[in-house]
């Protein structure tokens, strides 16, 4: 085990995989000399050279498309998007091309492509640099979606993403980059997709949280523990595939479900999880599932306003209490 930041866990994983497989290359905006604006590719240019570590023009739709073409032609590209907000510029290539190529061509193509980058609040970046966009990619079939919440998960999930023969959307969170944690030294350490992580066991309520909100959910659970409410905290880690069985198993035990994420509540991942649990485990629920997510407005610049839009720890506490009727 080594103690690393989330950003360095990502960087090291990319470097380790590139050393093993010469088909892997990485491209994106400012990733070469600059090492990425969040340092996730620092030093890669020096080690692997400008052919395999490429700065791109600011042309998301075409460099994402070039990643798709290179993947179809046998390489394993990693494409960095500087801010996931910029993914909208490349939506045609991702949703009409990458997601559909394998199916539309009768299973005769494979697209081993990783699109990675950071999203979320944390730097006062306002409406076009702070969004959490994962739900969009859960809706369209053909893309896997990973959401690492710790340095170890970042390394383990990214390794699985790079080795996967499908296109993978890999959503990092900018507020997590500087967080530190133990990461296994094993260069084959990989976390399989579709395996939720039960971070804390509990008996009274199940909190499902992703990315930055895993930590907030744990803090809420700590507060609730003192008030005699025992929460189980689950991080699904990937939402495509989604380990609904682990979530349902937990709800069968606790009878209560709270889902919290930074992304907008409306039409979000929480809505999907709540629906699947309601459809499949209605009889186990002692209260209606509660969803917490950003209010349905654009993320504002001002810190006070930003905090008013996204769920706070006390909101999680309140939601849990609501389900336990306390």
């Amino acid at each position: 085990m080594s103690k690393k930041t989330y950003a360095m866990a990502i960087r090291d994983c990319i470097a380790e995989e590139m050393r093993k497989d010469s088909n892997i290359f990485i491209m994106g905006e400012d990733i070469a000399e600059q090492g990425g604006i969040f340092s996730c590719t620092r030093g890669l240019l020096e080690e692997f050279g400008p052919e395999l570590v490429r700065n791109t023009p600011i042309s998301e739709n075409s460099f994402v498309g070039a990643g798709i073409g290179a993947a179809c032609a046998g390489l394993r590209p990693i494409v960095e998007l500087m801010y996931m907000d910029f993914v909208y510029v490349a939506m045609d290539q991702l949703l009409n091309q990458a997601a559909k190529i394998r199916y539309m061509f009768g299973g005769k193509a494979k697209v081993p492509l990783v699109i990675r980058g950071q999203q979320g609040i944390g730097r006062g970046n306002a409406g076009q640099h702070s969004q959490s966009v994962e739900a969009l990619f859960m809706h369209i079939p053909g893309l896997k979606v990973a959401l690492p919440s710790t340095p170890a998960d970042a390394a383990g999930l990214l390794r699985t993403a790079i080795r996967d023969d499908n296109p993978v959307m890999f959503f990092e969170h900018k507020a997590l980059y500087a967080t530190k944690g133990e990461v296994p030294d094993d260069e084959d350490f990989a976390i399989p997709f579709g395996q939720a992580n039960v971070i804390k066991q509990g008996t009274d309520a199940t909190i499902v949280a992703t990315l930055y909100y895993v930590d907030k959910a744990l803090k809420a659970a700590e507060i609730l523990e003192k008030e005699g409410i025992s929460c189980e905290v689950i991080d699904p880690r990937t939402i495509v595939p989604l380990d609904i069985d682990t979530i349902i198993g937990s709800v069968e035990k606790t009878g209560r479900l709270i889902i919290v994420h930074e992304a907008h509540k409306t039409g979000g991942v929480g809505a999907e999880i709540a629906s699947q649990v309601t459809e499949n485990a209605f009889m186990y629920l002692d209260a209606p599932p509660q969803r917490l997510g950003a209010k349905q407005c654009t993320l504002p610049f001002n810190l006070g306003l930003e905090n008013a839009v996204i769920p706070q720890i006390e909101d999680i506490v309140k939601a849990v209490k609501k389900t336990t009727y306390k």
Partner: protein, 325 residues
Amino acid sequence: MIKKERLIWIYTKMNEIRKFEEKAWKLFEENKLRGSVHLYIGEEAIAATVCSLLTDADYITSTHRGHGHGIAKSGDIKSAMAELMGKETGFCKGRGGSMHIADLEKGNLGANAIVGGGIPIAVGGALAAQLKGTDQVSVSFFGDGASNQGTFHESLNLASVWKLPAIFICENNQFAISVPVAQSTSVKDISVRSKGYDMPGYTVDGNDVLAINEAMEKAIKRAKKGGGPTLIECKTYRWKGHWTGDPEIYRSREEVAEWIEKCPIKRLRKHMIDEKIASAKELDAIEAKAQADVDEATQFALNSPEPDTAKVMDDVFFEELGGAV
């Protein structure tokens, strides 16, 4: 100068495409095809000539009007016709249909029903060739309409900056559905847009096999030398409507008739006979064989099984995710 063997190949492909498209039109009218088909009739010289200079290792991306590119690149008429009918034996096992013919084993990275959608993907093929150090080239076919998409401009820039072995073939058939080029496009000759991206650009008669060949040979030479990409605009005309249901209010019958006179197949035939490259009898035999092959492919497709509906969820991902989605 094209050697006889290759000219015969081109003539054969052009006839196969023509017969294939005529059959597709007929089948559509007989209600044996669903969806819509976008016919390549009148534009055959481009796909056939360009692909005559490619090997199976070279890549192409194609368009919604992609039957011609698919036939010229891979040659499998049966799988193409079966795909038009949505059959299990089709290129895409009935998942794609007319607008999504792909054959990755033969370098066809796929037709694309998003205008301009395939251009960056072809750039990716060229990037793979450069990174692997092969002498492959990657060709993107697209129409005049696509030259107004951002992907066209971004892709030309990207390929030029990275000196990729990419060749951009703009099939200017005069209309983006119903809108004439002059109404939608800032330049008369789309090839001039190459100047903005520091690459050679050629405008050629897209119904003239020899002219297309000349430009394409230059482009391939440049690409293989590491010189980077080329843009070739082939001016041509589609004889049929944009799709099978097009009311064609945007052009006169006289205009269509004029272009039918400029038939690329007739033109190549005349050249080969005049230059004593092939006899009329030889060329008649090629045409007859193309018709017979298309008829056989049609029968194959009609007799092929429907896809198994129980397998409708297959191939969303590389492996089965089961219910875990």
